[in-house]
Amino acid sequence: MSGIGQHGDIAPAGLVAHLRDGFRRFFDGDVWYSFTRSPVVIVSAVVTLLFVAAAVFAPLIVPYDPFDLASIDLLDSEIPPVWLDGGDPRFLLGTDDQGRDLLSTIVYGARISLGVGFASVLFAMVLGVGLGLLSGYLGGTVDAVIMRIADVQLTFPAILIALLIDGLSRTVLPRDLHGEIWFYVLVLAIGLSFWVQYARTVRGSAMVERGKEYVQAARVIGVPPLLIMLRHVLPNVMGPVLVIATINLAIAVITEATLSFLGVGVPLTSPSLGTLIRVGQDFLFSGSWWITVFPGAALAVLVLAVNLLGDWLRDALNPKLR
């Protein structure tokens, strides 16, 4: 244990340095070159960054605060976009059924969708990479147990698992409490349904790395296993993990939107894109198509951009697949 303590002091700095080296190699040469050569990828990157920026700075850029009840007037409900008859110059994309400015609501919705997306990808990544490292590096019983659990989980599609976890939390937690911690419940539900992919990938790479000389050398000079895993093995297995994470972000955003659409995700009080689409569906037949079409378009553009980025990253890292 004293060994861990000693190394623990320098471990964070060392880890950062390792990761930095990794990133430098990552963006050196081929990857960056193919990025600058593909207009589609540059556009997707710009779109993604715009969405992230809009989500982060939402309170600063939107014309109205959709959560401020004082600024909402029910008389303003279901106003069409400016360019249609009956449009109001105050509301660029029109208003929803409660008289909220649709543009502001969409920006806030994207904020929640992306927030849940990033958090659940991070959670799935930490869990999956951690279990994958343990599984691949230690092997034996630990490996067998973790991989059997992964096998069972892979039998079911992710959306069903997320739905089940979310539904269960609703039954177990009191209604008020669930209203407060829905964010964590969603992140847990989506994260738990995606960890297997990371675990399998990392396990495979870790098993290869384990046999290499630098790991043996570290073991011989008495570096504790946990430190070997984190400082030596982890940086060498991160490449594919980042690819999976990018593609997973798109899937996580879709999953969140789907759960919210089904009425089990984000509550109505702080609508995400999926919630907005669900609410809008009820107004399709009354002619107010914009309430559902604009959030839907925002969601589609976001997911498409992230997907294109992920595709490019995968191809750039694996020239074999092209």
Binding site: V152, T155, F156, P157, I159, L160, L163, L164, D166, G167, L168, R170, T171, V172, A250, I254, A257, T258, F261, L262, G263, V264, I277, G280, Q281, L284, F285, G287, W289, T292, V293, G296, L299, A300, V303, L304, N307, L308
Partner: protein, 341 residues
């Protein structure tokens, strides 16, 4: 072969036991079943008596065993909400979901495979690029959004579009429910009436679109892979017609992974039917399950979980066995390995 089948069967049974365990834990530890059955004015003694009569005081293993025995016989208890046997509720809903899923799977396969073959053979063609772009959009649009857009076009705006054009370009299609159904024994089918068939169109297209793009991309990448191999070059060198090379040699060898993925996707289709059912108010199992979640109807939730688990395990098992039948190399490898041991 027999050893392989037995091992796969044992694995499947283990997975089902695990799923059953989760479902059973749901029953037992989420809420108090007694509270869900009796009214406010039931005394503690009566509750205790009911608890003993239902065997809720028995040891864990005994209860789990009883649950499994009942489940195997199709007995999942009473729905808290509907006060009817869950098995009955689900049996009413199964035909709707299965008909929708099968039509969707059929569409996905019979449009996706030709599209994949075409894009694989004509890599740089304009139509191929079009297919690929459309497929990327198809993957990026969530299922429910596709459904809503279809409702918007074919349900809400079709009459306006046709009126503006002066002729019928976009037919008006039903966007709600199953239409008229015909009862065949316990199975209710929408295949035999016009309104039933019309009602199937939009939901099944919605459900099929994602799987179709997936199958198309898979077939395409497999075709590209196979077309690069030596035996294809050799076949061309022998002067075989393009048709014989492309379909007799290349397509045949891409079919193994396609069968696997399509088979496995059938499970996903049944699960994803849940979303489509919500969009189109299709009275299937998924809608029942969603209601059960919002109403905390645990017996229904647990049995849906068990049933889904059963479907998935069954499909995985069949696909694995099919794989073995379709690919002679697998059998040969096994035989060689056995010979060496």
């Amino acid at each position: 072969m027999i050893a392989f089948v037995v091992r796969r069967l044992l694995q499947s049974i283990l997975v089902m036991l695990a799923v059953g365990f989760i479902a059973f834990s749901l029953f037992n530890y989420v809420g108090d079943p007694i509270n869900n059955m009796v009214g406010q004015d039931t005394t503690l003694e009566q509750r205790q008596e009911l608890r003993e009569r239902l065997g809720l005081d028995d040891p864990f293993v005994v209860q789990y065993g009883r649950f499994l025995v009942n489940a195997v016989q199709g007995d999942f208890g009473l729905s808290y909400r509907h006060r009817r046997p869950v098995a009955e509720l689900i049996a009413e809903r199964v035909p709707a979901t299965l008909e929708l899923s099968l039509v969707a799977a059929f569409l996905a396969l019979f449009i996706g495979v030709p599209m994949g073959v075409y894009t694989g053979l004509h890599r740089r063609g304009v139509i191929s690029q079009l297919f690929l772009t459309v497929s990327l959009v198809g993957i990026s649009l969530p299922t429910f959004l596709i459904g809503i857009l279809l409702i918007l076009v074919f349900g809400v705006m079709s009459q306006d579009i046709n009126a503006a054009l002066g002729f019928t370009l976009v037919p008006q299609l039903p966007t709600f429910g199953r239409g008229e159904t015909v009862q065949l024994g316990w199975w209710s089918t929408g295949f035999l009436t016009k309104s039933g068939l019309l009602a199937l169109i939009l939901p099944s297209v919605t459900l099929a679109l994602f799987q179709m793009t997936l199958i198309m991309r898979l077939v395409r990448s497999e075709m590209l892979e196979v077309l690069r191999t030596d035996y294809i070059k050799f076949a061309r060198a022998r002067g075989l017609t393009n048709r014989a090379v492309n379909f007799g040699h290349a397509l045949k060898n891409t079919l193994v992974p396609v069968i696997t993925i399509t088979g496995l996707q059938l499970g996903s289709i049944i699960a994803f039917a849940l979303i489509t059912e919500r969009v189109f108010q299709w009275p299937g199992m998924g809608l029942l399950f969603l209601q059960a979640i919002t109403e905390v109807d645990i017996p229904v939730m647990a049995s849906y979980l068990m049933l889904m688990g059963f479907f998935f395990v069954l499909i995985n098992l069949i696909v694995d066995l099919l794989y073995y039948v379709v690919d002679p190399r697998l059998r040969a490898d096994k035989a060689v390995a056995a010979g060496h041991q």
